[in-house]
């Protein structure tokens, strides 16, 4: 076996690809070959390193030095300095990196370190190589489940772990699985909801791009647990790299006998198929997703019946989010008790956040449930850019809540946030500095909802349009004080009478914006 001196892991995700990661990769290999270093230094592709908006990002091991904004022009210098002469190239080093990327396998309690469960392999392994996933302990969990556990054991383990669904609503995953196992049916389905559409959220994308086999393993375990035969990954159509990687992962897993008939020589047979979404936000809602998967217009269905009773083609169907399923292999491998060591009493485990907006280092982090918003923004996110003051944040995407500085000390988890009329939602944290115009912020949120309302129910279809009319007037200084009351009346009607969570949730950004930033709205109306 060839021993290499250095590994260069280059982040290949949608963002870095646009910044020219592949060209940098080619240049690196060429340059290394020039110096005859190509046998000593290997260049590997990996998923996202969790850093966004900083061009091409790569990390050099064993030093663990992160470089950002690397261009082809920088390559000769980088190779010569760091890899030939052993002197890290200071001008490109990502100084914030260590804070954000120390990964602990054991719980250390150190705040800046990220206890990574879901993103454990992201940025370490080549996502397109199934052997690397297996080398990192991959597919051990499904083997353990198949060989030592009954489906009921698996369900109990997940139930015991306290895992709450990471799609936004925080429904107990184990309970959902228990319903699924108890529902009689000759054929059952597992659907992975990878239709990530919440603005500012790209956590699922990075899992799909960075560690696709982990998701497949999670689906396999879910399939075994509920006695399903077929799984579908319903994936956002714009996620071309994710689609490519998940499709490759499925094909590799099939060739290894990890998908298909009699997996690992057991009686369990399961296969997974990819279905691309066509771009409607509402298809992230599980029943609309199922309609779309059936080839129909993506409109939500009435509940009950819930998908678990009558889902895809009327059969019992388990729908779980990407992040939820990516937690499962670690829970099965390490046990529920280990998992409960992370997070809070009512909300165990970790959460993947996308931090964006006016923070110093926007990107993706994984941290324990119960971390305060302050720590997420100021420690992981590096605080507010350019020394400005923090004004507020929008938590959980467009369907989330605005908060003000008084909420910074709130512990972030699904259960706790409910008490503050907020929601963890998708885990997107959009940070705003003192210069942010809150009317403008709410305006863009409402335009988003108007654009994405599916049109099925009158409250959402007409309510979102009317809210846009009103906020446009307010933003143009033509609004009246009564308009603020109108907005509340409309969102109240939408909350109570909208057919699905899309319309119901619009009251959250509106009421929270008016609660925390009322003065700013009052100053804009006559």
């Amino acid at each position: 076996m060839n021993i290499v001196r250095n590994h260069i892991l280059i982040s290949i995700d949608a963002g870095t690809l646009m910044a020219g990661a592949r060209a940098v990769e080619d240049a690196l290999i060429k340059e290394l070959t020039k110096y005859g270093l190509d046998k000593e230094v290997s260049v590997l592709e990996t998923g996202s390193l969790g850093i966004t908006g900083r061009g091409v990002v790569l990390v050099v091991y064993p030093e663990g030095i992160y470089y950002a904004d690397v261009t082809i022009k920088d390559v000769p210098e980088l190779v010569e300095e760091h890899l030939l002469k052993g002197r890290p190239l200071k001008r490109l080093i990502l100084t914030e990196a260590p804070k954000r990327t120390i990964i602990t396998k054991e719980k250390t309690g150190l705040l800046k370190e990220q206890p990574r469960i879901v993103l454990k392999n992201c940025g370490f392994i080549n996502p397109e190589n199934i052997d690397e996933y297996i080398a990192a302990g991959g597919y051990e969990a499904i083997a353990k489940a198949l060989q030592t556990m009954t489906p009921e054991d698996v369900v109990n383990e997940v139930k015991e772990s306290g895992l709450l669904g990471r799609g936004g609503a925080g429904f107990p995953t184990g309970l959902k699985w228990e319903f699924a196992i108890k529902t009689p049916g000759d054929e059952k389905f597992v659907i992975c909801n990878a239709d990530e559409g919440e603005p500012g959220t790209f956590k699922d994308r990075l899992i799909l791009e960075g560690d696709p086999h982990k998701l497949l393993e999670g689906m396999l375990i879910a399939g075994y647990a509920i006695r399903a035969t077929t799984g579908f990954v319903y994936i956002r159509g714009e996620y071309s790299l994710s689609i490519e990687r998940i499709e490759k992962a499925i094909s590799d897993a099939r060739s290894y006998g990890l998908l298909g008939k009699n997996i690992l020589e057991s009686n369990f047979s399961f296969d997974i198929f990819v279905k691309k979404g066509a771009g409607a936000y509402v298809c992230g809602e599980e029943t609309a997703l199922i309609e779309s998967l059936e080839g129909k217009r993506g409109h939500p269905r009435n509940k009950p019946p819930f998908p678990i009773n009558a889902g895809l083609w009327g059969k019992p169907t388990l729908v779980n989010n990407v992040e939820t399923l990516a937690n499962v292999p670690e829970i099965i491998r390490n046990g529920a008790a280990w998992y409960k060591g992370y997070g809070t009493e009512k909300c165990s485990g970790t959460k993947v956040y996308t931090i964006l907006g006016h923070v110093a280092t926007p990107g993706l982090i994984e941290t324990e449930m119960g971390t305060t918003l302050k720590d997420i923004i100021f420690e992981y996110g590096g605080g507010i850019r350019e020394g400005k003051a923090f004004k507020g944040a929008l938590i959980g995407g467009a369907a989330g809540a605005f908060i003000g500085p008084e909420m910074l000390d709130v512990k972030m988890d699904f259960i706790n946030l409910r008490e503050y009329a907020a929601a963890l939602g998708s885990g997107a944290i959009l940070v705003m500095n003192e210069d942010t115009d809150m009317v403008d912020m709410l305006k863009s949120v409402l335009h988003f909802f108007k654009h994405e309302s599916c049109g099925h129910c009158a409250p959402c279809r007409l309510g979102t349009a009317k809210l846009v009319d009103i906020i446009d007037e307010i933003a143009a200084l033509k609004g009246k004080k009564e308009d603020l009351e109108r907005m509340v009346e409309i969102t109240q009607a939408m909350k109570n009478a909208s057919f699905c969570p899309l319309g119901q949730s619009v009251s959250l950004p509106v009421s929270s914006a008016l609660k925390y930033f009322r003065d700013e709205f009052m100053a804009r109306v006559s």
């Binding site: 409250p459 007409l462 009319d469 409309i490 119901q504």
Partner: protein, 584 residues
């Protein structure tokens, strides 16, 4: 059983009962808009929301089943506020020209605004004005009135399985349109008009010929004759606030005469003629090993459906024209000759419970008299509007018979208007045509009633005639698919004759019926027709003296060359994209 309270009143209902139904039982009417008793609730409008204790948001009464122990509140301040807010939003997006709207006084949105006590408008009207869809010969679609309740889509998709209408675009831009947004006239729409019956507002209605008919009546040079379909006599009364199912045959003839028609005939006359032509065809095909089963051809919605979706069965469909078109052809030949009126001066008007009849009358082949056989088709709703304009109240009319020689009819003709009626009438005469004897018990109850598909077997002196009846095109598909399979597999079908009507309930449920009816009302109208059948002196088509006369004087005998020329037709193959003829 489920025990719960509604507005603190205890109710006990069967499992599966919706809050809406349970509330009705408790004495509370929850307002609705998109809900229709004949359709699966879609829950698009949200008007019927109620509060259920313990739930953070309201629930739709139309589609939420009551659960044991629930305490439901249908009339709280919060509920009323939400309903009003929603209705305000809907009204702001609806073209409100109520006094001039076709649906004025019949509009469900209008009456809901009154029910909810909306007297001033909170929001300005704000919708982008779109063009009317005038492309169809039968139906007009006004997207500016559409409230997207989706009833039209549901009836077109679930009941009729035509799928001509669908939602397009998204969010506030959502519209209901045909597949390629080329207009209903360029779609697979079969013109059945069920969408116009289910539409709660004035967004879907028949293409009107009222002005042209008035013009003809007022023209002293024109001789305007009128025929009324069998079902009209069981539904026209509703337009004049008479009890649903009132029989108004005599009043109808009197009213039309007073309106100014030069001759008031009756489609029932040609319904009897149809039986002789079609019955002879059936008997002929049985005797000569012809194509079986014979499928009826009276319903023009069904004919276009067949041409589009089941063209391989076109040879099985009877070549007999529908009663409307037989009447049209005879009015400009037989009647013109007897009366000595130049046929070009005759204007032939028909009153139909149907929108597809407008399309049928304009089919290019329907010119066997040398002129367009039927000039104008009016729906029940249109003739009611004209009578009202003329100051004629049907209730005040005496009973008068229709004019000779095309006004006399039998009970067999009158039941054409109900599902199974054509089959029953055909069997009454086929028995005679085969055996030369009269069928003693003319009531063939097996083919009556509102079951979607009905079957019967009649013993015609040893010959077992197996027949089937389907109404509503979704039901038609069931029997046609079965026949197709049988023909493919065994080369023959178990049926000798099949009656198909495009509309649920048959013509009494036609697309031109009065607004605001449901399946229960359709059934009542059918019963009215069976009552008239029982009361008439002749109950077999071949007994009609006027029919004997027309053969004697003009047509010679059923299926004669002349009869074939005037009373029979042929069919096309249509494509499944725009419904246009692809093969002669």
């Amino acid at each position: 059983m489920i025990k719960a309270t509604i507005n603190n009143i205890e109710v006990e209902v069967k499992e599966g009962t919706t809050i809406l139904e349970a509330a009705k039982k408790a004495g509370f009417k929850i307002p609705t808009l998109c809900y229709h008793p004949d359709l699966k609730p879609k829950g698009s409008c949200g008007i019927c929301v109620v509060e259920v204790e313990g739930f953070p948001s309201m629930k739709r009464a139309c589609m939420t089943e009551l659960v044991n122990g629930w305490n439901v509140h249908t009339n709280t301040a919060a509920v009323r506020a939400v309903r009003k807010e929603l209705l305000e939003l809907i009204l702001a997006n609806h073209e409100m020209d109520c006094p001039t709207c076709i649906k004025n006084n019949r509009c469900e949105l209008q009456s809901l605004a009154a029910t909810l006590g909306i007297t001033t408008l909170k929001y300005k009207q704000s919708f982008e004005k779109k063009n009317l869809d005038n492309s169809s010969m039968s139906i007009v679609r006004n997207p500016n009135k559409c409230i997207l309740c989706e009833r039209c889509i549901q009836v077109c998709e679930e009941i009729q399985t035509v799928n001509a209408l669908a939602l397009s675009k998204r969010g506030s831009e959502t519209i209901i349109t045909d597949a390629f947004d080329e207009g209903l006239g360029n779609s697979v729409c079969v013109n059945c008009g069920q969408c116009t019956v289910f539409c709660p507002v004035g967004a879907l209605y028949e293409k009107s010929d009222i002005d042209k008919v008035w013009e003809a009546i007022n023209d002293p040079e024109k001789h305007v004759v009128v025929q009324e379909a069998p079902a009209i006599r069981a539904m026209l009364g509703e337009e004049f606030d008479m009890e649903p199912g009132s029989l108004v045959a005599g009043k109808m003839h009197a009213a039309l005469r007073r309106m100014g028609f030069d001759a008031v005939f009756d489609t029932n006359f040609t319904a009897d003629l149809t039986i002789l032509e079609e019955g002879t065809e059936i008997v002929g095909r049985i005797k000569n090993n012809g194509k079986l089963p014979v499928i009826t051809s009276c319903s023009p919605g069904w004919i276009k459906f067949m041409e589009t979706f089941y063209p391989h069965l076109s040879e099985y469909v009877s070549t007999a024209k529908s009663p409307q078109q037989m009447f049209g052809a005879l009015s400009k030949t037989y009647y013109a000759e007897i009366k000595g009126i130049p046929p070009e001066k005759i204007v032939s008007v028909s009153i139909m419970p149907c929108t597809a009849k407008k399309f049928e009358s304009k089919r290019p082949e329907m010119k066997d008299s040398g002129f367009q056989d039927v000039d104008f088709v009016l729906t029940t709703r249109e003739i009611a509007r004209m009578l009202k304009e003329a100051g004629i109240d049907l209730k005040d009319m005496p009973d008068e018979p229709a004019d000779d020689p095309m006004g006399q009819y039998t009970g067999a003709a009158t039941i054409f208007g109900a599902t199974g009626g054509v089959m029953e009438a055909a069997l009454r005469s086929a028995y005679f045509l085969v055996t030369g004897k009269e069928l003693e018990d003319v009531d063939i109850v097996a083919v009556r009633g509102m079951d979607g598909v009905k079957e019967a077997e009649i013993d015609v002196e040893g010959l077992k005639l197996k027949v089937a009846v389907a109404h509503g095109l979704g039901n038609a598909r069931k029997i046609l698919d079965k026949v197709t399979r049988q023909l493919e597999k065994e080369g023959r079908s178990e049926y000798h004759a099949i009656e198909i009507m495009a509309c649920p309930g048959g013509c009494v449920g036609g697309g031109g019926q009065p607004w605001g009816s449901d399946m229960a009302m359709r059934a009542r109208r059918g019963e009215t027709l069976y009552k008239e059948d029982k009361s008439l002196p002749y109950r077999r088509s071949h007994e009609n003296p006027s029919i004997k006369l027309v053969y004697e004087k003009y047509l010679e005998k059923p299926n004669s060359e002349k009869a074939h020329h005037l009373l029979h037709t042929h069919y096309y193959k249509r494509n499944k994209i725009d419904g246009k003829v692809v093969q002669e």
